[in-house]
C-alpha cells in the first residue's frame, strides 16, 4: 500500500505529540499540579495514531480510561486536553470531565469512558445513524483486552454485524488489565479470533507499527464505507508505564516480568516508524527530531495554557446538566 507522505508525517507528529504529552503529564502529575487518575498511553501510540489516520474529521471515535492517546490521534488539541486535566474552564469539558473524559464533538471525538466496554455500543449507535440516513461516515470504538470480556462487546459486535453497520472495533491488546494478564482472563488466543463468532473479519496487527495499523484500518474503513459492515481489529501492543498515575497505582507484587518489559521497550513505536521513514527516504533524522521538538514545544505551550486558565466558578457546577434546563430540585 502506497501511503501519502503527508499522512506518514502526520502520524509521526501525532505519535510524538502523544508521547510528549504523556511525559509531561507524568511530570506535572507527580509534581502535584493536579490529581486524579491518569492512564499513560506510552508505548501504544502507534495503535491509535495508525487507526485514526485512516479516519476523517467527520468520522467518529469513542474511547476508554486510557484516554489521552485517542483524542490526540484523532486530531484533538493538546491545549484543551491539558487544561482539562488541570480541571480548568478552557479544558475540553470545562474541567468537568478530567483525564478520563476527553471529548471534542467538533471533530467526531464522542468521548472517552471510564466505565469499560460502555462506550462501544455508543460507537455502534453513531454507525447506525449513518446506516439509517445513508451517510458515509464510519465510527470506531477503542477498547482494551480486559474490556473485551464485557458483555457490551458481544452485544455490540453482534448488533453491528446483523445490521451491517460501518463500525470498527479496535482492541488495544496491551496484554494486561491492570495487574491481570491476558491469558488469565481471555479465553481465546487473540481477541481478533472472536470476529468469526460475529461473521466479520478479524485482523491481528502489530500494534507497534503505525503503518501496519494504518493499512489494516484503512481496509476496514473502506469496507465500512462501501456498506460491507464492521471489522474487528486487534493491535497487539504493550504499555511501557504503570497502569495509572493516580488510583490503583500501587499493586503488591510484580505482575509483569522485567525482562518482558525490556523486550517490549525495544519495540518502541516511535523508533519503528522513524526508522522506516528514514530508511525509505521519506524523512531525515533531522526532520524527525524537529517534529519531536515541535511537539515538545506545543505540549509546553499547552501546559502553560492550562496553568493560566482559571478554575470554574462555583455556579458552573449547575451548568451543562441539561440541553433544556429544568429547575434544580
Amino acid at each position: 500500500m502506497e501511503i501519502d507522505r503527508d499522512i506518514l508525517l502526520l502520524m509521526l507528529r501525532r505519535m510524538w505529540m502523544i508521547r510528549n504529552f504523556e511525559l509531561k503529564v507524568m511530570e506535572v502529575h507527580s509534581a502535584g499540579e493536579f490529581s486524579g487518575a491518569a492512564h499513560p498511553y506510552i508505548g501504544e501510540e502507534a495503535v491509535a495514531v495508525g487507526a485514526c489516520a485512516a479516519l476523517e474529521d467527520t468520522d467518529y471515535i469513542t474511547g476508554n480510561h486510557r484516554s489521552h492517546g485517542h483524542p490526540i490521534a484523532k486530531g484533538g488539541r493538546v491545549d484543551k486536553a491539558m487544561a482539562e486535566l488541570y480541571g480548568r474552564v478552557d479544558g475540553y469539558c470545562k474541567g468537568k470531565g478530567g483525564s478520563m473524559h476527553l471529548a471534542d464533538y467538533s471533530i467526531g471525538i464522542l468521548g472517552e469512558s471510564g466505565i469499560l466496554g460502555s462506550s462501544v455500543p455508543v460507537a455502534v449507535g453513531a454507525a447506525l445513524a449513518a446506516h439509517i440516513r445513508g451517510d458515509k461516515f464510519v465510527s470506531m470504538a477503542f477498547f482494551g483486552d480486559g474490556a473485551s470480556n464485557q458483555g457490551a462487546l458481544h452485544e455490540s459486535m453482534n448488533l453491528a454485524s446483523v445490521w451491517n453497520l460501518p463500525v470498527i472495533f479496535l482492541c488495544e491488546n496491551n496484554q494486561y488489565a491492570v495487574t491481570t494478564s491476558y491469558a488469565e482472563t481471555v479465553a481465546v488466543d487473540h481477541v481478533s479470533d472472536r470476529a468469526s463468532a460475529y461473521n466479520m473479519p478479524g485482523m491481528l496487527v502489530d500494534g507497534q507499527d503505525a503503518i501496519a495499523m494504518y493499512e489494516a484500518t484503512s481496509a476496514a474503513v473502506k469496507r465500512a464505507r462501501a456498506g460491507e459492515g464492521p471489522t474487528l481489529i486487534e493491535g497487539l501492543t504493550y504499555r511501557f508505564e504503570e497502569h495509572s498515575l493516580g488510583l490503583g497505582r500501587v499493586a503488591r507484587g510484580a505482575y509483569r516480568d522485567e525482562a518482558e518489559i525490556a523486550e517490549w521497550r525495544k519495540r518502541d513505536p516511535l523508533d519503528i516508524l522513524e526508522k522506516t521513514l528514514i530508511s525509505q527516504g521519506i524523512a531525515t533524522r533531522e526532520e524527525c527530531d524537529a517534529i519531536n521538538a515541535e511537539t515538545v514545544e506545543e505540549v509546553e505551550k499547552a501546559t502553560e495554557f492550562a496553568r493560566n486558565s482559571p478554575f470554574p466558578e462555583p455556579e458552573d457546577l449547575f451548568e451543562d446538566m441539561w440541553a433544556n434546563p429544568i429547575p434544580l430540585p
Binding site: 469539558c93 440541553a323 433544556n324
Partner: protein
C-alpha cells in the same frame, strides 16, 4: 374530542412525530409486529430503516440508540422496565452522564419507553416500577403519564426534548379510554404537554393527594367516595417526576394542610418519599397532620393474584390514609 385508548395514544404520538421529523426512528424487540401493541402499523408506513427489530440485547441497542442520538437522530426505544436492569450501564453511565461529563458537548435526544406491567400476575421479574431509582441519578427526565391525553402529549414533548427521557408507561392503564383532542381542535394544532407542570386533576380543600401513574385513577375513586361523606380532596398528578413541579404541590398543601402521596413504586426511597421530604422541609408550616405515604409494600411482586392484590396503592388504602390525616 375523540375517546382514545392509552395504547393508541402512544401509537399516535410516535406516528405524528415520525411524520414530522425524519430523524425520529424506533427500535426495540418485536416492534415491527407490535407485540405490545404500541407500535402497530408503523412498519408499513415508515419502513425497515426507521422501525428496527433488535436482537435480544438491551445494553447493546440502548447504547446504539444513545450513540445515534449523539449524532443527530431522535431514537425512541421500546422496552419493559424490567429489561432496563441489563441495560442499566448505558442508561446511567452514558445517557445520564455524558452531557455533563463532556462539559455540555453531548446532546442526547433519546427516549426510552418503558412499560410497567404490574398488577396482572407478571411476577417479580416483570413487574418493576423503577422510576424512583432514576430520580436519584441526575441526567434523565422522568415521565409517568396517567391517562391517554397526557400519554400522547408528554411522549410528543419527550421526543422533541433534547435531553434523554424515560417514559414509564403504566401497564394498568393500557386499556384506559380517555379524551384526547384531535390535532385539528388544538390551537397550535398539536397536543404537547410541557414537562414540569403538574395537573390538578380535581380541586379540594381538606386534603391533598399527590398521585403518580396508575395511582391517579385510584385517587380519583378515593376522592369520589370521600366526597360522598363531605370530605373534599384535591388530587394532583405531577405527570413528570424529573422535573417535578413542587410549587403546585406546595401550594395545594398550603391550602389543604394535609398530604397523602399515592405511588405504585416500592415504598422505600420512592417518589412518595421524595415528595414527603420536600414538603416536610419546604411546606412544613402548612402541614396540620402527618404526611401519609401510600406506596407498594416492600416485598417483591408475587405471582398469585391472592397476594399481588395487596401490594399496590388502591382506593381503600388511599381513603384510609386520607382519614388518618383528618383524624389528627
Amino acid at each position: 374530542m375523540a375517546q382514545t385508548v392509552f395504547l393508541e395514544a402512544i401509537n399516535q404520538a410516535i406516528q405524528e412525530e415520525m411524520r414530522r421529523d425524519e430523524s425520529v426512528f424506533i427500535l426495540g424487540e418485536d416492534i415491527r409486529r407490535a407485540i405490545y401493541g404500541a407500535t402497530a402499523d408503523l412498519l408499513s408506513e415508515f419502513g425497515e430503516k426507521r422501525v428496527l427489530d433488535t436482537p435480544l440485547s438491551e445494553n447493546g441497542f440502548f447504547g446504539a440508540a444513545i450513540g445515534a442520538s449523539l449524532v443527530g437522530m431522535r431514537p425512541v426505544v421500546e422496552t419493559l422496565t424490567s429489561f432496563m436492569w441489563v441495560a442499566m450501564d448505558q442508561l446511567i453511565s452514558q445517557a445520564a452522564k455524558m452531557r455533563y461529563m463532556f462539559g455540555g458537548q453531548a446532546t442526547l435526544p433519546v427516549v426510552f419507553r418503558a412499560s410497567m406491567f404490574y398488577g396482572a400476575g407478571s411476577a417479580a421479574h416483570h413487574s418493576d416500577r423503577s422510576y424512583p431509582m432514576f430520580m436519584n441519578m441526575p441526567g434523565i427526565k422522568i415521565i409517568v403519564p396517567s391517562n391517554p391525553a397526557d400519554m400522547k402529549g408528554l411522549l410528543k414533548t419527550a421526543i422533541r426534548d433534547d435531553d434523554p427521557t424515560i417514559v414509564f408507561e403504566d401497564g394498568t392503564l393500557f386499556g384506559m379510554r380517555g379524551e384526547v383532542p384531535d390535532n385539528s381542535e388544538l390551537p397550535g394544532e398539536e397536543l404537547l404537554v410541557p414537562f414540569g407542570e403538574a395537573r390538578t386533576v380535581r380541586e379540594g380543600t381538606d386534603c391533598t393527594i399527590v398521585a403518580i401513574g396508575g395511582a391517579v385513577n385510584h385517587s380519583i375513586a378515593a376522592a369520589d367516595q370521600l366526597a360522598a361523606e363531605g370530605i373534599s380532596v384535591e388530587v394532583i398528578d405531577p405527570r413528570t417526576l424529573v422535573p417535578l413541579d413542587k410549587k403546585s404541590i406546595l401550594e395545594s398543601v398550603e391550602k389543604t394542610g394535609r398530604l397523602v402521596i399515592a405511588d405504585p413504586a416500592h415504598k422505600v426511597c420512592s417518589a412518595a418519599s421524595e415528595i414527603a421530604s420536600i414538603v416536610s422541609e419546604e411546606g412544613f408550616w402548612s402541614l396540620q397532620a402527618p404526611i401519609q405515604k401510600v406506596a407498594s409494600e416492600q416485598v417483591h411482586i408475587p405471582y398469585t393474584p391472592s397476594l399481588e392484590k395487596h401490594v399496590y396503592p388502591d382506593a381503600p388504602k388511599i381513603i384510609a390514609a386520607v382519614r388518618r390525616t383528618l383524624e389528627s
